[in-house]
């Protein structure tokens, strides 16, 4: 048996429960952004009972609603209040059972299969300040969901036949094609009972398998697994030093202590750390945060401490350390046998330590697996951490710019170029200075490129040439309007 708790008019209820003075006044929320000013043509997203009593309905445009109800107050949405109300609804569900699905922001499904006693009375007693709670019970979660959304069936334990009088528009709550629902309405079907009487096979042949699933669901033939709500676990720890620390040893000592606690908590949950986030709070108020990716999920203190220690040893801080914070990203510990034909690192623990040392020596963003850009913007690439195979990268499907890879100058070298104008475009003749000066004997181009034309700050435009000098060097030359010439690289 499943039960559903539903809060009607959820967005407006979340706001009005903190403002009792508005309960008796007609209020509405518009569909759209929270900060957007009310516009006449925006539809109503949610209205309270006082507004509904005036005869307006959800979905009406605002100008039409104002004709019917001139006193209608339009309120902005409050995401923080909605989140708080949703959390309270989940807590309410968890007071009855541990298995709760957060189906939507205004609805939770409770799995009551573990309850031995009837819960109808307990459901009737559930309440939240300022909002109404509708509930219903059924043999499947979707039947209970449909029943809880309608006043005719709420508060009851229903069977499939009880849904027959409900309007067919309730099917819009289920996953499926909206076009199929419009077609059913065009056929003249007004209630769920009309739909349930139709032959299933004929429906599938005409409207597709999704409509067949609706049919099965309404007859109680199928039930789905719940996506259970589990609160996020935090492994965050912090340590405040009594006196500000100026040497490494006390920091390592505190870190080791925190790692012991972390290892114990991980072991109790059968998890392992895949990445460690540590943050040093300095006396000056500044903070230094680093993230260390572990090549393999770790549960041992030594395996986690070594890369952190390497990184800490290389840090030069501007002020003493006042506090230390540590957090971990978790994954499941590796318990499976390694792939026989796949390639693995011989010593993954040492690899993480080496990468940490390299990053400490070269600075952040200097070590990693390069990811080519999915844009024509010059030298736009990103780096993926070299350790931690658990992270999946969507490698962009890009084609190389040319058959010969470029040896890029970073930054590009500013030069002077002798040129003439052909067809309103510059035509380079010789490089006048720079590391490779001389006459240009051959060229490919120009290749025009531009981007971010919509951004007045980031917009760029350029002409590129591949040139060959009399010394046989091959180079890439770039012209940026109005008069900037650069050597971007060489083909060595």
């Amino acid at each position: 048996m499943f039960a559903v708790l539903h809060i009607p008019d959820f967005p407006i209820g979340a706001i009005l429960r903190k403002s009792p003075l508005l309960w008796d006044q007609p209020c509405a929320i518009l569909a759209g952004k929270t900060t957007q000013a009310p516009q006449d043509r925006l539809p109503l997203l949610s209205i309270n009972s006082a507004a509904r009593d005036t005869g307006i309905h959800v979905g009406w445009p605002l100008n039409r609603a104002l004709v019917r109800c001139p006193d209608l107050r339009v309120l902005p949405r409050d995401p923080a209040e909605e989140m708080a109300l949703r959390d309270e609804l989940i807590c309410l569900g968890e007071s009855l059972t541990a298995d709760v699905e957060n189906t939507s922001e205004d609805t939770v499904v409770l799995d009551l299969s573990c309850r031995s006693k009837p819960v109808a009375a307990a459901l009737d007693r559930l309440s939240l300040s300022g909002v109404e709670i509708w509930h219903a019970q059924a043999l499947t979660p979707d039947l209970a969901h449909l029943a809880a959304r309608h006043s005719a069936t709420r508060g009851r334990s229903i069977h499939p036949a009880d849904l027959a009088p409900l309007p067919i528009s309730l099917l819009g709550l289920l996953q499926g094609k909206a076009s199929a629902l419009a077609l059913l309405d065009l056929w003249g079907l007004r209630s769920l009972g009309d739909f349930m009487k139709l032959p299933r096979q004929a429906l599938i042949e005409r409207l597709g398998p999704e409509v067949g699933k609706w049919h099965d669901l309404l007859h109680g033939k199928t039930s789905r697994l719940l996506h259970l709500h589990r609160p996020p676990e935090s492994f965050s720890q912090s340590f405040d030093f009594e006196d500000a620390v100026v040497s490494l040893d006390p920091v390592i000592f505190a870190l080791k202590r925190m790692l012991h606690t972390l290892a114990g908590r991980l072991a109790s949950r059968h998890l392992a750390a895949s990445a460690l986030d540590f943050r040093l709070v300095l006396v000056s108020g500044a903070e230094l945060a680093r993230r260390v990716r572990l090549p393999e999920p770790q549960t041992a203190v030594e395996g986690m401490l070594a890369p952190l220690q390497s990184l800490l040893e290389s840090l030069r801080l501007a002020a003493p350390v006042a506090a230390l914070q540590l957090d971990a990203e978790t994954t499941f510990a590796t318990a499976a046998q390694r792939e026989w034909f796949g390639r693995h690192l011989p010593q993954p623990e040492r690899w993480a330590e080496t990468l940490a040392k390299l990053e400490a020596m070269l600075g952040p963003g200097r070590v990693g697996v390069p990811v080519p850009p999915a844009t024509f913007e010059p030298d736009a690439f990103s780096l993926h951490p070299g350790a931690g195979a658990a992270v999946i990268v969507n490698w962009p499907l890009v084609h190389p710019e040319g058959p010969v890879p470029l040896h890029r100058f970073r930054p590009a070298r500013e030069i002077s170029v002798a040129y003439e104008t052909r067809s309103n475009q510059p035509w380079p003749l010789a490089l006048l200075n720079g590391p490779h000066s001389g006459e240009i004997i051959a060229r490919r181009g120009p290749f025009p490129a531009s981007g971010k034309w919509w951004d007045p700050v980031g917009t760029w435009q350029r002409l590129e040439w591949d040139i060959q000098l009399a010394s046989h060097h091959l180079l890439r030359l770039v012209f940026q309007p109005p008069d900037r010439w650069q050597l971007e690289g060489i083909y060595p």
């Binding site: 693995h344 080496t354 390299l358 020596m361 390069p370 070299g386 190389p400 010969v404 060959q468 060097h473």
Partner: protein, 211 residues
């Protein structure tokens, strides 16, 4: 008298337990003729050096050949490029090829040597490319020879391959020095990369200081 006995004992131990001494069965340097586009073309447990034979020798093409054009991305890096002058261009390669490589972006000769030392001692990567092209010649010549000898000993101990890409001969203790030539011109930019790779020629040079 004790020294020859010790040497004999060392030799016997090395033969009996080659793994413990970082010696592999194929440790003898193969003669890399023609196309150095496979890691196996470079001797194991030794430093190799690749120098250009002309202004357009195709050194970056050789890196492209080593990376290949795989259909699927690699879950782990298979080689390391210690980029002395931060000149590698990811836009010249496919994403799946880049996934095979760890890129270490250095800004000076010292950073390059220190990074290479860390990676060689790590021993996880069997192929390390050390790209010194683009670094000031004066800084490179200022490196004491002992730096390269220490790297050589570390490579021998860990059994990896260290390939130094330089504009002119740099490593005094290189086991193999290849002279690379492609003779590219602008007309070749219309050819596919595979065809250009076919033109790339690597010729072993005579080593006066080879050990």
């Amino acid at each position: 008298m004790a020294i020859p006995a010790l040497e004999i004992l060392r030799k016997q131990m090395r033969e009996k337990f080659p793994q413990a001494h970082g010696v592999r069965a194929d440790a003898a340097p193969p003669v890399a003729q023609g196309k150095p586009f496979r890691a196996e073309a470079f001797p194991l447990g030794a430093i190799s050096e690749v120098v250009p034979a002309g202004p357009v020798a195709g050194i970056t093409l050789m890196i492209a050949g080593l990376l290949g054009d795989p259909e699927e991305a690699s879950p782990h890096p298979e080689m390391v490029l210690v980029d002395g002058s931060d000149a590698f261009d990811p836009g010249s390669f496919t994403g799946t090829a880049c996934s095979k490589m760890l890129w270490v972006r250095c800004r000076s000769v010292m950073e390059m040597i220190k990074s290479a030392d860390l990676l060689v001692h790590d021993g996880n990567m069997s192929l390390i490319l050390l790209d010194s092209c683009g670094l000031p010649r004066r800084d490179l010549n200022g490196l004491p020879a002992a730096v390269w000898w220490r790297l050589k000993q570390a490579v021998e101990r860990n059994g990896g391959r260290l390939v130094v890409l330089a504009t002119s001969p740099l490593v005094p203790c290189a086991s193999l020095r290849l002279s690379l030539s492609a003779g590219l011109s602008l007309h070749d930019f219309d050819c596919p990369r595979d065809e250009l790779l076919g033109r790339l020629q690597a010729t072993p040079e005579k080593l006066r200081y080879a050990t």
